[in-house]
C-alpha cells in the first residue's frame, strides 16, 4: 500500500460566519456545527463549542478523546472506516489530507473515572502534547436514559464525525507539504531489501473492557485474534480509541492517526532494516486470552520472517502481563524485542515500576513515571467541568483547591506518559 499524506497547516482557528478554509485559516460557523452535532444522536441534550489555543490560560477537562481532522483526497475508503454501513472499504492507499496543527477535543460530564486534563499553558502544558494544537472543543452532554456505555459511544461518534466534517474542508485544497509512505505486499516487501533484517511493530491495543476499548475497522479488539496491517492503514483511522482508561497513557485517536512508532520506523526503512508491517494485538483480561494472543503474535511474527520488533503497551498493571508475555515468547522464538511502556513507581518514584517482569526484556523505553505529583495553576477559563479533579484516576480527595488549582499525579494529564512515545517524557534512576 502506498499513501501520500498531504499536510495543510492550520495557522488560525476561529469562529465566523462561514465554515471554510482559506490560506491556513479555519473558520467555523458555530450554530451550524452545533446543529450538525445535535443531529448525530437524539439523546444529546447540550452541545457547546469552544476554541482553545496554545498559550491561553485555559483548562479542558475531563477530556474524552483528541482527534485530528483528515480526509481522503484520493483513493478508496473514508476516515475511521468500518463504523457505518457502506464504509467497509480498506484504507491506507491514495492521498489523505490533514488539517495539521488542529484537533477536535471532546469533553462533557465524566464517562469513566479516567478522563484527562489538557492545560493550554502553565506547568501542565509541558506534559500534554495537546497544549500545542489549536483545539476545537466540544462539550457534549447526554440525557439520563444513557448509561456509561451509551455515553461513551455517543461522545466517540460526536468526536469522529466532527473531525471528519472539519477534514472535508481540506479535500480539494493544495497541501503545504506532503510525504509518501509505502509498504508492499509481504513477498514483494521481503524481496525489495533482501539483505536487510526484517522488522515489525507489535501494536498492543487496550481491550480490558468496561470502558477500556479500542476499535479496528469498527470492530471491538477484545474479540479479534491478532492480525496484520499495512502501516498506512493506521494513518487513515483504521484504529480508533474508545478508551476511558488513565489519561496519561491511553492513546487518543490522534496518536493512532500519527502513530509515532510507525512514522519513526519509516525513517530507516530500506536503509537500516526492512519494515515489513504491523501486528495489532489486544490486552484482554483473562489468562487464556493473554496466552492465546501472545502465542498468536509470535506465530505471525515468525510467519512474516521478522528478525526484530518494537512492542508497545497501552495502559498499565494488568497489560504489563501481556507486554511481558509478548516479549518472552518473541525472544524465545529468536526475535529481538524493544519494549515501550511507562512506569507506576510511586509518587516519590521509590517502587518497582511494572507489575510483571522478564529477564528477556533487556531493551525498554520508559515514557515516564505516571505517579509523579504536579500542581496545575488555576486558569482563567475552564472548558468542561473541573469538579471531577478529585475523582479521576491520579486525583484524590482534595486535588481541586478552592482557587481552582489542582494537585494530582501526572496520570490525570492527557498523553503525559504516552507509551507509543508520542513525546519526550522519560524516567531515569536517580
Amino acid at each position: 500500500m502506498k499513501l501520500e499524506i498531504g499536510n495543510i497547516h492550520v495557522k488560525e482557528l476561529a469562529f465566523g460566519e462561514n465554515t471554510a478554509l482559506s490560506s491556513g485559516r479555519v473558520e467555523i460557523n458555530r450554530e451550524e456545527l452545533v446543529g450538525f452535532i445535535r443531529e448525530l444522536d437524539h439523546r444529546i441534550t447540550e452541545v457547546k463549542l469552544d476554541i482553545a489555543l496554545p498559550g491561553e490560560k485555559t483548562r479542558i477537562m475531563p477530556v474524552k478523546d483528541v482527534i485530528e481532522p483528515r480526509v481522503k483526497a484520493e483513493g478508496k475508503g473514508s476516515m475511521f472506516p468500518g463504523r457505518n454501513g457502506g464504509d467497509e472499504a480498506m484504507v491506507g492507499e491514495g492521498r489523505t489530507h490533514v488539517l495539521k496543527g488542529m484537533a477536535v477535543v471532546t469533553t462533557g460530564k465524566v464517562v469513566g473515572f479516567q478522563e484527562g486534563i489538557i492545560d493550554m499553558s502553565g506547568a501542565g502544558a509541558e506534559y500534554t502534547p495537546f497544549s500545542k494544537t489549536k483545539n476545537l472543543v466540544i462539550t457534549c452532554e447526554v440525557d439520563e436514559t444513557c448509561n456509561q456505555y451509551d455515553h461513551e459511544a455517543i461522545l466517540r461518534r460526536v468526536g469522529i464525525e466532527t473531525a471528519n466534517k472539519m477534514g472535508e474542508l481540506a479535500k480539494t485544497v493544495a497541501a503545504d507539504d506532503s510525504r509518501t509512505y509505502e509498504t508492499k505486499p509481504l513477498l514483494e516487501q521481503a524481496a525489495q531489501y533482501p539483505d536487510l533484517p526484517k522488522i515489525g511493530y507489535v501494536y498492543m491495543l487496550q481491550s480490558q473492557g468496561l470502558l477500556h476499548d479500542t476499535y479496528l475497522y469498527g470492530v471491538d479488539v477484545k474479540s479479534i485474534v491478532p492480525t496484520i496491517l499495512y502501516p498506512t492503514e493506521v494513518m487513515d483511522g483504521a484504529i480508533m480509541s474508545g478508551n476511558c482508561v488513565s489519561a496519561c497513557d491511553k492513546n487518543p485517536s490522534i496518536v493512532h492517526q500519527n502513530s509515532p512508532v510507525i512514522h519513526e520506523l519509516y525513517e530507516h526503512h530500506g536503509t537500516k532494516y526492512n519494515f515489513m508491517g504491523v501486528i495489532v494485538t489486544n490486552e484482554n483480561v483473562t489468562l487464556a486470552d493473554k496466552e492465546r494472543s501472545s502465542n498468536y503474535v509470535t506465530k505471525l511474527a515468525v510467519q512474516m520472517g521478522l528478525d526484530a520488533v518494537i512492542v508497545s503497551e497501552e495502559g498499565f498493571g494488568n497489560p504489563d502481563a501481556d507486554l511481558v508475555m509478548n516479549c518472552r515468547k518473541l525472544e524465545d522464538a529468536g526475535i529481538k524485542t524493544v519494549l515501550m511502556t511507562d512506569e507506576y513507581a510511586g509518587q516519590m518514584g521509590e517502587s518497582q515500576s511494572l507489575a510483571d517482569s522478564t529477564p528477556k526484556g533487556d531493551a525498554v523505553v520508559s515514557n515516564g513515571n505516571a505517579n509523579m505529583v504536579i500542581t496545575l495553576p488555576a486558569m482563567d477559563r475552564v472548558i468542561g467541568h473541573d469538579v471531577y479533579a478529585d475523582m479521576i484516576a491520579g486525583g484524590a480527595e482534595g486535588s481541586l483547591h478552592a482557587d481552582g488549582s489542582i494537585t494530582a499525579e501526572i496520570q490525570v494529564i492527557t498523553g503525559a506518559t504516552n507509551e507509543l512515545g508520542y513525546h519526550n517524557l522519560t524516567a531515569m534512576a536517580g
Binding site: P197, E267, M340, P359, N369, Y422, A429, G430
Partner: protein, 347 residues
C-alpha cells in the same frame, strides 16, 4: 547565595567522643568542624548559617524528640538545603544523618549527606537524600568533604535538578525520576532497535526488576498434627483498624489474635485495603481470611491447630522493599511460635 544548615554528631561537633554521645540537640551559629571546610569550598555560593550538633546515642534513643527538634529548627531557619555528616561507617551517626534527610524531605527541603555504602543509614534512608559515597573511616575526610562540596555546588547550579548518580557522584537513591529527553520515545525505541539489531551497545531505560522466586517447602506430611497460621495481604483487621494500616502503600503489618473466634463478622473485622471493592470482604471477612473453614477443620481434627495469631497488611501499592521486610519478620514470628505451615491469602 543559598542558606545551608549542617547536621553533625558530638564527635565532629568537638563535644567529645563516646562519653558525649548522650548530648541533646545544640544549635550553633555558622560552620563547625567539617563544616568549616565545606563553607570554604562553597564561598560565594552558599552560607552555612547554622550547625546542629547532636549526640549519636541521644538521637537514636530519642528519635521522635530529636526529629521534632530538627523540624522546629528547619522551620525557623528556612534553609534551602541541609547537609548531614559525612558519617563514614558510623552506624548510629549514619542513621541520624539519614533520618535528618527524611525529616527535611517531608518539609520539602533537599538534603545532601555522605557515608560508607554499607552504613545502614544508606540502605534505610537513601530515598530521601543525595548521599556521596565515602570510605569507611574518618580518615577519608579529605576526600569526602570536597566530594560533598562538589555535589552541593552542582545542586546549586542546577537549581536542585541533579542528573544521574553516575554524572553527579551520589549513590543511587533507588528512585525513578522523570525528565524530558531530547528525542521522543518512539525515536529512542527505533534507535535502540537498530543498535540491538546491529549488536551495538544500547542502554535500557528501565532495567526489568528481578523477582524473588522462593523454593517451595516440602509438603506437610501429617496435617492432623500441624499448626496452621493465616497471613493475608488483603487488609483484614479488627474493626476500626487499631494500628491504622494504610489503605495503599502500607508501611506496617498487624498481628492480631483470633483466639476463641469461630468466624469473623462485620461487627468484629473489616478490610483496610483501598485497592478493591471492599463490600464483599466487609460483609464476611472470612472470605479473605478463612478463619471459619480452618476452625471447622481444627474441630474435625483435619488440622492439628489454627495458630491463635494472624498477620495482615495491605498489598495495594505497597513497595516491594516494605513487603520483603514484613515477610521476613512475619516468617520469624511464625517460626518462633512453632507454626508448621501458613496459608497466604491475597486479593
Amino acid at each position: 547565595m543559598i542558606k545551608i544548615v549542617h547536621y553533625i554528631n558530638q564527635f565532629f561537633g568537638q563535644k567529645g567522643g563516646e562519653e558525649a554521645a548522650d548530648l541533646p540537640i545544640e544549635l550553633v551559629e555558622g560552620p563547625v568542624g567539617p563544616g568549616t571546610a565545606l563553607a570554604a569550598a562553597l564561598q560565594g555560593k552558599a552560607e552555612i548559617v547554622k550547625t546542629i550538633i547532636c549526640g549519636d546515642s541521644y538521637f537514636n534513643e530519642n528519635e521522635e524528640v530529636a526529629c521534632m527538634g530538627i523540624r522546629e529548627i528547619l522551620d525557623e531557619v528556612q534553609p534551602d538545603l541541609i547537609v548531614a555528616g559525612p558519617a563514614f561507617n558510623a552506624g548510629r551517626y549514619g542513621m541520624a544523618c539519614g533520618k535528618v534527610g527524611e525529616v527535611a524531605h517531608s518539609m520539602g527541603i533537599a538534603a545532601i549527606s555522605g557515608m560508607y555504602v554499607e552504613n545502614p543509614g544508606y540502605e534505610l534512608y537513601r530515598n530521601f537524600s543525595f548521599m556521596v559515597e565515602t570510605s569507611n573511616s574518618a580518615a577519608g575526610m579529605r576526600k569526602a568533604m570536597p566530594a560533598m562540596a562538589q555535589l552541593v555546588s552542582s545542586w546549586i547550579e542546577k537549581e536542585g535538578k541533579l542528573g544521574t548518580p553516575e554524572e553527579e557522584g551520589y549513590m543511587p537513591r533507588g528512585l525513578r525520576v522523570n525528565f524530558f529527553a531530547e528525542e521522543r520515545g518512539a525515536k529512542r525505541a527505533v534507535n535502540m532497535l537498530i543498535n540491538k539489531l546491529e549488536g551495538k551497545e544500547f542502554k535500557t531505560e528501565y532495567p526489568m526488576p528481578v523477582f524473588d522466586r522462593v523454593e517451595p517447602q516440602p509438603p506437610v506430611i501429617d496435617l492432623s498434627k500441624a499448626t496452621i497460621a493465616l497471613v493475608t495481604s488483603g487488609g483484614v483487621v479488627p474493626k476500626g483498624n487499631p494500628d491504622h494500616i494504610e489503605s495503599s502503600s502500607a508501611s506496617k503489618y498487624g498481628e492480631y489474635s483470633i483466639e476463641g473466634l469461630d468466624f469473623l463478622t462485620e461487627a468484629s473485622h473489616e478490610t483496610a485495603h483501598g485497592g478493591y471493592d471492599p463490600v464483599a470482604c466487609n460483609q464476611a471477612p472470612d472470605r479473605v481470611l478463612p478463619v471459619d473453614v480452618l476452625r471447622e477443620m481444627e474441630k474435625k481434627g483435619k488440622i492439628g491447630k489454627l495458630h491463635n495469631l494472624f498477620y495482615t497488611t495491605v498489598g495495594n501499592g505497597t513497595s516491594v522493599s516494605n513487603s520483603k521486610a514484613f515477610g521476613a519478620e512475619i516468617a520469624m514470628h511464625l517460626k518462633n511460635a512453632g507454626v508448621s505451615a501458613a496459608i497466604l491469602t491475597s486479593t
